[in-house]
């Protein structure tokens, strides 16, 4: 039961990350490899506040989301002008810089050792320490994030991002403010990733830089692509499938040293297979990056 609750908590956190990624990749058709960076910013801000100022969970959550959203604004503002593949390089740069700060700014982030001894979440005076209790918190947060994503995925707002995705020139001609919509999606997405980071901090009660590398960003992209980019529930399906996959490998008795590599190979094959044969993912309706009219 504890084990099942733990798996569900992990799925919940990745579902939130997937939902955040889907706002940019699925709705605006842009690819960012900085999602783990924003995820980490949320995690570190919350951990720092909790350890230094003993501020409550809700305040830390809010501050983290605002900080990451602000950072998303600073990064997204100029870099969203770049062509799609150069946006990948720009967000990659941001990801490397953020990871460098996590690893090397030892006085604030604890350096490679990370931060530990983070106090548990208190709700109505009682501490949540069991995975089952935490599952309720994660599920509630994921539901709120899903609700926000569904608001953004609904007319009139969604028409603009989807129009950008299909044909940004036509969208601009029709008077849609393409740049502003892209930027607001990017900012909301960054804040959402930070929320997942805060949850991770309070769940693990320990963080270190290794959880926020570019490989983590790639994993989040894989969740969205495999689940179905542009579909509201696609990232949730993706998170369930990709989090359960290594557990299945473990049940099959593959030694854990090799399992990590085999898991990555399977993710890689899943990405290639999706691009080749099922670009819309498991349940998506939109084929990522396919142009409606061949050039």
């Amino acid at each position: 039961m504890e084990y099942a609750a733990h798996i569900l908590v992990v799925i919940g956190i990745y579902a939130i990350l997937g939902l955040s990624m889907n706002l940019i990749a699925g709705f605006a058709g842009l690819l960012s490899v900085a999602q783990a960076g924003f995820y980490g910013v949320g995690a570190y801000v919350a951990a720092f506040l909790a350890l230094q100022f003993h501020t409550p969970f809700v305040l830390n959550l809010t501050v983290s989301a605002v900080v990451a959203g602000g950072l998303g604004f600073v990064v997204g503002g100029p870099s969203l002008r770049l062509r799609g593949d150069y946006l990948v390089i720009a967000t990659f740069s941001f990801q490397v810089i953020v990871l460098g700060v996590f690893t090397n700014w030892t006085s604030v982030t604890g350096g490679p050792m990370g931060l530990y001894g983070i106090p548990p979440v208190h709700v109505l005076g009682s501490a949540i320490t069991s995975p089952l209790g935490f599952l309720v918190l994660v599920a509630a947060t994921a539901a709120i994030v899903l609700w926000i994503a569904s608001r953004l995925a609904r007319p009139p707002f969604v028409r603009t991002p989807k129009a950008i995705r299909e044909d940004h020139v036509l969208a601009a001609v029709r008077g849609k403010n393409v740049a502003r919509t892209k930027l607001s999606l990017f900012v909301v997405s960054s804040a959402m990733a930070a929320v997942a980071g805060v949850l991770n901090t309070y769940y693990m009660r320990f963080i270190d830089p290794s959880s926020f590398t570019v490989m983590e960003s790639i994993f989040i992209i894989t969740i969205v692509i495999v689940g179905g980019a542009g579909n509201l529930y696609g990232p949730i399906v993706g998170a369930v499938v990709l989090v359960l996959l290594p557990e299945i490998l473990r049940l099959m008795g593959i030694p854990s040293a090799a399992a990590a590599n085999i898991r990555q190979i399977l993710y890689g094959l899943a990405l290639v297979a999706c691009m080749l044969w099922r670009p819309q993912g498991l349940i998506g309706e939109y084929a990522f990056g396919r142009e409606a009219t061949p050039k």
Binding site: G29, L31, P78, S79, R81, L82, R83, G84, D85, Y86, V88, I89, A90, F92, S93, F94, V96, I97, G100, V101, T103, N104, H168, V169, A171, A172, V178, V214, I218, I221, I225, A258, N261, I262, Q264, I265, Y267, G268, L269, A270, L271, V272, A273, C274, M275, L276, P279, F288, G289, R290, E291, P294, K295
Partner: protein, 289 residues
């Protein structure tokens, strides 16, 4: 002294950058699979020299041939079928991340994740030049970079193949309309680029050792050199590589070596956002919408 080490670092970035630029010229997308090819080759050299006792002079060409073959294989198996379906550069990029994951983790499974070295014999002190100590390998790196840059410039400017590569890079449909077999040329430049990536990887492994994930950092440094230089030409990449290495050396001096990579990427961000056309002004990165 710092300048000498920077030039050596620049030489490596330069070979990687040029190898990537060759693939990028005709492929026109960011191929993360290139990073995996870069790492596969030194591991092939390791296997041939350590397990099969081949001399390095035999092992290296074999490894480079394997690199070229791998470049052709990923082109045939993944990228070409995607192009046929009119996939955008982003789709190719995502597929290439998949290719990278598969290849890199296969190396990890076969050889383990620890740092391995190709260095032979006892460590010698190296030559003293302008206060710096330079090993034989580092001299080889400099010579290789000089050959690759001049060879690359010759190939692209003076040969029929080079003209075809540049033509396909400018516009595939136009190249096709004047009778150039664009897929064939693309395949050829992918092979040459992949072999060069293997050379860069083997040189890095000989100098400082190798890990299965070595390709990612090397590839990014090559790409950064290309973007800062602002041109896919060998000269532009050399210029970018030099600027990148000097900024890295400066960061090491002022902030400490752990800030070298963040500084390099900060420089890249500044370039992407302030001067996206690079120093030479020959890249177009801004989307038209």
């Amino acid at each position: 002294m710092v300048a000498i080490y920077a030039v050596i670092a620049a030489a490596v970035y330069c070979i990687v950058g040029l190898s990537f630029a060759l693939c990028y010229a005709t492929g026109r997308f960011f191929d993360f699979g290139h990073a995996a090819v870069l790492a596969v080759c030194p591991y092939c050299v390791l296997f041939l020299t350590r397990t099969l006792d081949f001399p390095l002079a035999v092992a290296l060409p074999v490894a480079l041939a394997l690199g070229a073959l791998l470049g052709a294989a990923k082109e045939l198996a993944v990228y070409r079928p995607l192009r046929v379906r009119h996939a955008s550069p982003l789709v190719l990029l995502i597929a290439s991340i998949g290719v990278y994951l598969v290849l890199q983790n296969s190396i990890s499974l076969a050889f383990g994740d620890d740092t391995k070295t190709l260095a032979f014999g006892p460590v010698r002190e190296g030559f003293a030049i302008l206060g710096a100590r330079i090993t034989t390998i580092q001299v080889a790196v400099l010579i290789a970079a000089a050959i690759v840059v001049s060879g690359g410039a010759f190939l692209l400017r003076r040969t029929r193949t080079g003209t075809h590569i540049r033509a396909v890079g400018e516009s595939p449909p136009l190249a096709l309309s004047v009778g150039i077999d664009a897929p064939h040329v693309g395949m050829l430049s992918a092979c040459i680029g992949s072999a060069l990536a293997g050379l860069a990887g083997s040189l890095i492994a000989l100098d400082v050792g190798m890990t299965p994930t070595m390709g990612m950092r090397a590839l990014l440094m090559g790409v950064v050199a290309m973007i800062i230089g602002g041109s896919q030409s060998p000269l532009g990449i050399s210029l970018g590589a030099l600027l990148l290495a000097l900024s890295g050396a400066l960061a090491t001096q002022l902030l400490g070596s752990q800030w070298q990579d963040p500084t390099a990427f900060f420089a890249l961000l500044v370039f992407l956002l302030m001067r996206p056309q690079g120093v030479m002004g020959k890249l177009t990165l801004i989307s038209n919408g």
